[in-house]
């Protein structure tokens, strides 16, 4: 279960090649890639600040949680920080499981955690004005839904 925080771009293709070649028992591999969007056409760049002492451990912790919860054979999280141009990949997640539903759910769950529990903050810089991206209530709601699901299964 590996997790990496880095400023440099990552090579999605090389990461997936390594990930898939290390998978032996899984019939299902899911990947997610988050890309810097420029909805208004005016974004100069995105700046991602993070909490260096905490991010690596947090990512590893989320990957371990997802691995246990969904019985994943393998999970990978890579998240960048620093300055990113529109179109650049911000982060990626990959999961491998015997069954496809677990691989999908594991990746989705990891994303929900990253969105609202990993210590990263995004700032959008456009024509000299800079705005911190607001967190979304729907991200919190998405995360809460996993707890409800667990509670329902246990009852």
């Amino acid at each position: 279960m590996s997790a990496r925080v880095q400023e440099a771009a990552f090579d999605f293709q090389a990461e997936m090649t390594a990930f898939q070649s290390a998978v032996t028992r899984s019939g299902a591999v899911v990947s997610f890639t988050g890309v810097v969007r420029d909805d208004t056409g005016s974004l100069d760049y995105m700046f991602i600040e993070h909490y260096p002492g905490m991010t690596q451990a947090a990512l590893r912790n989320f990957a371990d949680q997802a691995t246990e919860k969904f019985g994943l054979e393998k999970a990978l999280v890579i998240h960048r920080h620093g300055r990113l141009q529109p179109g650049e990949a911000i982060m990626m997640v990959a999961t491998a499981a015997r069954h496809r539903k677990d691989a999908f759910a594991g990746a989705d769950y990891l994303m929900d955690y990253l969105k609202s529990r990993a210590p990263f903050w995004k700032k959008e810089v456009s024509k000299g004005s800079a705005t911190w991206v607001a967190s979304k209530d729907q991200d919190e709601a998405a995360l809460a839904a996993w707890s409800l699901e667990s509670a329902a299964k246990e009852s």
Partner: protein
């Protein structure tokens, strides 16, 4: 006790620094915030809306009631927006 306090994103911008060593006898995160907001307008602005403030104590997500006993590092920041 001496704490290392870290600030991130717009909390950092309003406070005006990214970290500081701070001597305090605050028992909880809430006590610490009350001390900080009394220091100057930058801190007051950073903590004006406590519903928008998250805290990590020794790099674990925590809340305002968390004890600072034996704590070495406290970080304040807005809700996280990774992914």
């Amino acid at each position: 006790m001496k704490l290392n306090i870290l600030y991130f994103a717009w909390v950092r911008e309003r406070v005006g620094q990214s970290q500081e060593a701070y001597e305090t006898s605050a028992a909880t995160v809430a006590d610490l915030i009350f001390e900080l907001v009394a220091r100057d307008a930058g801190y007051a602005a950073a903590f004006v809306d406590l519903s928008a403030i998250c805290v990590a104590v020794d790099q674990e997500l925590s809340d305002f009631t968390t004890s600072l006993v034996d704590c070495r590092e406290v970080a304040f920041f807005p809700p996280m927006t990774g992914g």
